[in-house]
């Protein structure tokens, strides 16, 4: 079973996303901000990360840039999941190393479609 780390400062979002991912046969872990997610990844790298942009301590974009600079280990598939809809923001996320991008609000079809396009299903 593949593992997915859900990184969002909203507990509700983490819970909804976790439920959808479980239906897609993922084992899920949770993190409330970028720093927590980075610590988790350094101890155990997941197969996929569903990542919010705006979070306290460390935002999603900085987390992603730091993660992609990590020297060792496997490279997880990162799917941004954010309310940011500007094309400039989306481009910035892709340049930082995001594989896909989900715009909130989302439903199970969107998560499934994006994970499929990212090669996770």
């Amino acid at each position: 079973m593949k593992t997915c780390l859900v990184v969002d400062d909203s507990k509700m979002i983490r819970r909804v996303a976790g439920r959808i991912l479980k239906e897609l046969s993922f084992e899920t872990e949770e993190a409330g901000n970028g720093q927590e997610a980075l610590d988790h990844c350094r101890s155990q790298m997941p197969d996929a990360i569903l990542l919010d942009w705006n979070m306290p301590v460390m935002d999603g974009l900085n987390f992603l840039k730091t993660l992609r600079k990590e020297p060792r280990g496997k490279k997880p598939v990162v799917v941004f999941c954010t309310a940011e809809r500007d094309i400039s923001k989306i481009t910035e996320a892709l340049e930082a190393g995001a594989d896909e991008y989900v715009m909130k609000p989302f439903d199970s079809d969107i998560i499934e479609s994006k994970f499929f396009m990212a090669g996770l299903l």
């Binding site: 094309i87 896909e100 991008y101 715009m103 989302f106 079809d109 969107i110 479609s113 396009m117």
Partner: protein
């Protein structure tokens, strides 16, 4: 559920029949809630207080326009970008390379049949744009057709919600081919101008749309009733141009009816239209280089006739009988002229010279007897008088024998000096040779004409 439904069960059945008759599509069972939801929205749009008055008016007045709108609303599909991505890949892998090679320089016409809200034609356009490096110089025009509906209006506008653009559309394609407009996303003008959307009754004749290099009709076949499936496939096949393609859904095929289409690379859903080979009209004067000449048959028959003739060479007995018959019979037509120079040349003093005006090249000897005279042209009245036989003159030795060996009409005149037996034998052989040759020529002409005539008849039949 019946508590929230406003229509009587008989109306649902009537609506299902209407959809089947107008569109050939069977709505199936347990679609009451779908009918209620979709038609309620239409009723509000059409200005009715509720759904019931609209349905009552539909079935009492029989308005065609309202019927089409009702059926269109019932048939609206929820589609998404890059639906069944594999069959799009099949198009790029099989159909496009062939079309690009065969129709280089021409604008490829692509039909998206039953395009609904337009995701399919836009997906095809994006797939082509992304692969332009594989198909340099590719020009294309996509036509999307479906029943007139709100969905088709949305397709024309190219405007989609953020839910629509996140189903099946990779984020890189979104930012490449769409512009953000408030909360929605709009297809860029550069892509929209390559796609034309048309209102079209999907069971009507498609001739007015013209011919297409590629027709895409995916995952809708099963909705149609069996007769409507055949009708739709036949219509679609008729608008695919030669060596063009019809692409169905991956789980679909044309089964036993091929409509002039062949499967490609073992894929049941990618079908190529056969090339119609029209044979050019054959010029009957041109010989077909088939390894044998038109004279072969005639030559065989001539050989056979020659062998038969040689078996019938004159003996002393039958010569005498025949010459008696010849001398007793009525005047015969003039003997035909020999074809070859090998024929013995009669003495000009004895046989009148032919008038060249009256000699036809194919004029041949009469072949009723086994020995006929060398062919001679018709004689002029003067000439006919000249070779007179002096009956009073005393016959000379050998003259009688000569007279019996040839027909009376060419009997040598009495004044001819007697010939030696060896000379007579030589003359006789020369006569036979000339006769065989004349016969050969006659047969050859005759059979050659028969061959040509037979060939012409065969050609007409085929």
């Amino acid at each position: 559920m019946s508590a929230v439904l406003s229509l009587k069960p008989s109306y649902y059945e009537a609506l299902k029949r209407l959809t089947l008759e107008l569109a050939g599509i069977n709505l199936g069972q347990n679609h009451e809630f779908l009918i209620e939801t979709r038609l309620s929205a239409l009723a509000r749009k059409e200005g009715y207080d509720s759904l019931l008055p609209m349905i009552e008016e539909l079935f009492s007045s029989g308005q065609t326009r309202l019927a089409v709108h009702v059926v269109s609303a019932l048939l609206e599909r929820d589609t998404q970008f890059n639906h069944e991505r594999e069959s799009l890949d099949d198009i790029l892998r099989t159909a496009l390379p062939s079309l690009h090679r065969l129709f280089k320089g021409t604008t490829l016409r692509i039909l998206s049949y039953g395009c609904s809200s337009g995701q399919e034609p836009y997906s095809i356009a994006m797939a082509l744009e992304k692969n332009m490096d594989l198909f340099p110089g590719l020009k294309y025009q996509i036509v999307g057709v479906d029943y007139p509906s709100v969905a088709l209006d949305r397709a024309r506008s190219g405007r989609y919600t953020h839910f629509d653009v996140q189903r099946g559309l990779p984020i890189k394609d979104l930012i490449t081919y769409f512009d953000r407009s408030a909360e929605d996303w709009v297809v860029k003008e550069s892509l929209r101008e390559k796609i034309e959307f048309k209102d079209f009754h999907l069971l009507s004749n498609l001739e007015s749309l013209g011919e297409f290099h590629l027709v895409v009709f995916r995952n809708r076949l099963a909705q149609y009733s069996a007769p409507a499936q055949i009708r739709v496939l036949r219509e679609l096949a008729s608008v695919v141009r030669e060596l063009g393609y019809l692409v169905l859904g991956r789980s679909e095929g044309v089964a036993k009816l091929n409509f002039g289409l062949d499967k490609i690379d073992g894929l049941a859903h990618v079908l190529c239209k056969r090339e119609v080979v029209v044979e050019a009209p054959v010029d009957p004067t041109i010989k077909i280089p088939n390894g044998r000449t038109t004279f072969d048959g005639a030559k065989r028959r001539i050989k056979r006739a020659r062998s038969e003739l040689s078996e019938m060479r004159p003996t002393k007995e039958n010569t005498q009988v025949d010459s008696k018959f010849a001398s007793a019979s009525a005047p015969k037509p003039p003997p035909p002229a020999p074809k070859s120079n090998a024929a013995p040349k009669p003495n000009p003093a004895q046989i009148p010279q032919p008038d060249p005006q009256h000699v036809r090249p194919n004029e041949t000897a009469h072949t009723a007897g086994y020995v006929s005279a060398p062919i001679a042209p018709p004689r002029s009245p003067d000439a006919l008088e000249r070779p007179k036989v002096d009956l009073q003159a005393e016959p000379k030795p050998g003259a009688e024998k000569v007279a019996t060996s040839v027909p009376a009409r060419v009997t040598a005149p009495k004044t001819e000096p007697p010939r030696a037996p060896s000379q007579r034998r030589a003359d006789k052989k020369a006569e036979e040779a000339a006769e065989i040759e004349a016969l050969e020529f006659e047969l050859e002409t005759l059979f050659n004409f028969e061959d040509m005539s037979q060939r012409r008849q065969d050609r007409i039949k085929s």
